[in-house]
C-alpha cells in the first residue's frame, strides 16, 4: 500500500445554531499522500487547512466523503486509536498541548495512553527526547522553556507513540526565528528517517523544503504539485492572499527583464549556487 493517507471527496461542515446554515470548511477535497513524503499545506486563515488536519487525525469526522489512514476509515471507531497513533499531531500553541509539568512525563503521556510497558516507555521517551535534542532538559518544567523547545517537546511526545506520519498544524507560527529554525531542522530530520510529514504553515520559506505543496483556498485545493511547479503560479497565489517565497518573486522579476533563470530555483541556497556556477 503506497498511500498512507487518502482523502476522498471530503466535505466538512461546522454546525451552527439552529436556523443558520452550517459553514462549509472543506469542500470536496481529494488528496492522496505517499508514505514517506514531505508535504506542505498553505492557505490564508479560514482556508480550511486546520480543519483538514483534524480530519486526518479523526479529531473531526467527515460530513461526507471519507478519510483513510493506513487503509482505515476514520469513521471506524474500532480503529480510532490505531489511526491516532499512526498519524500523530502537533498543534500551533506550544503551551496549550503539553499535559505534564515535567518534560519527560509529558513525552510519556502518549505511550502511557497506548498501554505500553513501563520499561519500553522509558526507552521510547529517552530516544524521542534525543531525537529532538531535548534530552538534557528532560527534568525541567515546560513553562521555563522557550517556545521552540516546547514545540520540540510536543514533537517528541508524538514520536514516542511511533507514528508513521506526523501532521504539524502551524507549529512555528508562535515562535521566533531561532525557534522556527530549530523546529524545521527536526521536521526535516524526521522526514529523512522515513516519517511522512504534513506541515501546515503560512511561512512561504518553509514550504521550499517540502516535496509537494498544496495550496488551500475557501475549503478547496487550489493548487497542488511540486514546489517549483506550484510557485510558477505566482500571480494566482498572490490573488489568494498569500506570498510566494522570496527567491520565486525575485526570479520572476528577473525573468520579466529578460534574464533566464530556471524555474526550479526557489530557495536562497539554490539561487546562490546558480549564480556562483554562472560566474565561473
Amino acid at each position: 500500500m503506497n498511500h498512507i493517507i487518502s482523502i476522498e471527496d471530503l466535505v466538512f461542515e461546522y454546525e451552527r445554531e439552529e436556523k443558520l446554515e452550517p459553514i462549509k470548511a472543506l469542500d470536496n477535497v481529494n488528496i492522496k499522500i505517499k508514505k514517506g513524503s514531505f508535504i506542505a499545506i498553505i492557505g490564508s486563515n479560514g482556508s480550511g487547512k486546520s480543519t483538514l488536519a483534524k480530519n486526518i487525525n479523526a479529531l473531526l469526522l467527515p460530513s461526507s466523503g471519507a478519510v483513510y489512514v493506513k487503509g482505515f476509515n476514520t469513521t471506524d471507531e474500532t480503529k480510532l486509536w490505531e489511526i491516532r497513533q499512526t498519524a500523530g499531531m502537533v498543534f500551533q500553541n506550544p503551551d496549550n498541548q503539553l499535559v505534564s509539568s515535567i518534560v519527560e512525563d509529558d513525552v510519556a503521556f502518549g505511550p502511557e495512553n497506548l498501554g505500553v510497558e513501563p520499561a519500553e516507555i522509558r526507552k521510547r521517551v529517552d530516544n524521542s527526547l534525543c531525537a529532538v535534542n531535548m534530552y538534557e532538559e528532560r527534568k525541567k518544567a515546560p513553562h521555563l522553556l522557550s517556545g521552540g523547545q516546547k514545540q520540540r517537546i510536543a514533537i517528541a511526545g508524538v514520536i514516542a507513540m511511533k507514528p508513521e506520519c506526523i501532521i504539524l498544524d502551524e507549529p512555528t507560527a508562535m515562535l521566533d526565528p531561532h525557534g522556527r529554525y530549530e523546529v524545521m531542522e527536526i521536521i526535516e530530520r524526521l522526514h529523512n528517517e522515513g516519517i511522512t510529514v504534513i506541515l501546515i504553515t503560512h511561512f512561504m520559506e518553509e514550504t521550499t523544503r517540502a516535496e509537494r505543496v498544496i495550496i488551500m483556498d475557501a475549503g478547496k485545493v487550489a493548487i497542488d504539485g511540486a514546489p517549483a511547479a506550484v510557485f510558477a503560479n505566482a500571480k494566482k497565489i498572490k490573488e489568494l492572499g498569500l506570498d510566494v517565497p522570496f527567491i520565486v518573486e525575485i526570479a520572476e522579476r528577473l525573468r520579466n527583464r529578460g534574464i533566464d533563470i530556471p524555474k526550479n530555483i526557489i530557495s536562497i541556497e539554490e539561487m546562490v549556487d546558480y549564480i556562483a556556477c554562472k560566474f565561473k
Binding site: L59, S100, G110, N113, P118
Partner: protein
C-alpha cells in the same frame, strides 16, 4: 507580585526527600497538618520547627524561596494575629479604649500566627520537593481503594496534573492581561471595594476566555495523543517502596511520638532514648 506564590511550585532537586515515595510524603504532610492543631505549647512548636528545618536543610530548598511564598498571605497572618490578640479573654495587660490586650491573647495570637505560617510552609514544602506528577500519582494510588465506592481517583489525579501544569501559564497570562489593561489606563488599586471589584472585569473576562481556549486546545491535544481515561493506561514510573521509604516511615513514627509526648518531658525523652540506644 503574583509570581511570588510558591504554593504548588516544584523546586527541582535530587535530595533524599526529593526521591522519597510521594505517598509517604503526602501522608506525612497530612500528619504534619493534624499535628499543628494538636500541639499546645512551646516545645511542640520547637519539635515542628526542628523537623521542618531538617527537611528544608536536607532538601536544599532555599529558605528565602519558601519565605517568599508567605508574602501573599501576609495580610491573613497579620489579621489572624490581631484578631486573636484582641479577642481572647483573660488577664488584661494593656487597655486601649474598648480594646483589651490580654496575656492569653498575646499567647494565642503568637501561636495561631505561627501555626498558620507553619501550615503554609509545610504544605508548600510538599509540592516544592515532590514532582507534581509523582504527587498526583501518589494521590491517585492512595485514593484508588476508594474507586470501588465510585470515587474517580484517576480523573481527580489527571485534573490535578493539569491544574499544576497550567498554574504558571495562567499566572503569566494574568500578569500580561493586567499589564495590557494598565497600559490602557486601568487602575486595579484605588477606590472602594465596589469600584475595585468592577475594575477587575477587564482582567477577568479575558482571563476566562483564555482559560477556555487553553482547555479546548488541551482537550484536543490529549485526544490526539490517544487519551481515553484511566483504563488501558500504563505508567512510566512504577511506584515501589524502597529502603529510604521504610526509613521515612520510621522517622514519621518518631515524629508522631514526639508530638504526642511533646509537653514538658521532650528533652528528657530525647536524653533517655539517646542513653538507651547507647
Amino acid at each position: 507580585m503574583i509570581r511570588d506564590i510558591t504554593l504548588g511550585q516544584y523546586y527541582p532537586g535530587d535530595s533524599w526527600f526529593h526521591r522519597l515515595d510521594a505517598r509517604i510524603k503526602i501522608i506525612w504532610t497530612f500528619i504534619y497538618i493534624v499535628s499543628l492543631f494538636l500541639i499546645r505549647d512551646f516545645w511542640g512548636y520547637i519539635t515542628v520547627l526542628i523537623t521542618l528545618g531538617l527537611i528544608i536543610g536536607i532538601s536544599k530548598v532555599p529558605l528565602s524561596f519558601i519565605l517568599k511564598g508567605l508574602k501573599p498571605i501576609f495580610f491573613i497572618i497579620i489579621f489572624t494575629f490581631v484578631i486573636n490578640m484582641f479577642m481572647t479573654k483573660g488577664t488584661s495587660l494593656i487597655e486601649i479604649g474598648f480594646l483589651t490586650i490580654t496575656k492569653e491573647g498575646i499567647r494565642n495570637a503568637f501561636f495561631m500566627g505561627t501555626r498558620l505560617v507553619l501550615l503554609i510552609i509545610g504544605s508548600s514544602l510538599l509540592t516544592l520537593i515532590t514532582k507534581p506528577i509523582q504527587l498526583t500519582d501518589g494521590i491517585e494510588k492512595l485514593l484508588s481503594p476508594l474507586q470501588k465506592f465510585g470515587l474517580p481517583s484517576h480523573e481527580l489525579a489527571m485534573m490535578m496534573t493539569i491544574a499544576l501544569r497550567f498554574i504558571p501559564t495562567l499566572m503569566e497570562e494574568t500578569d500580561k492581561i493586567m499589564k495590557a489593561q494598565m497600559a490602557r489606563g486601568a487602575d486595579f488599586e484605588s477606590g472602594n471595594i465596589m469600584r475595585r471589584a468592577k475594575s477587575l472585569i477587564p482582567l477577568l473576562v479575558p482571563l476566562f476566555i483564555s482559560a477556555f481556549r487553553i482547555a479546548q486546545d488541551l482537550a484536543m491535544a490529549m485526544e490526539a495523543r490517544c487519551y481515553r481515561g484511566g483504563s488501558h493506561r500504563t505508567r512510566m514510573h512504577g511506584m515501589k517502596m524502597k529502603k529510604r521509604d521504610a526509613a521515612a516511615i520510621l522517622l514519621m513514627i518518631l515524629y508522631v511520638t514526639l508530638i504526642i509526648t511533646q509537653a514538658q518531658g521532650i528533652l528528657s525523652f530525647l536524653m533517655m532514648s539517646l542513653i538507651q540506644s547507647a
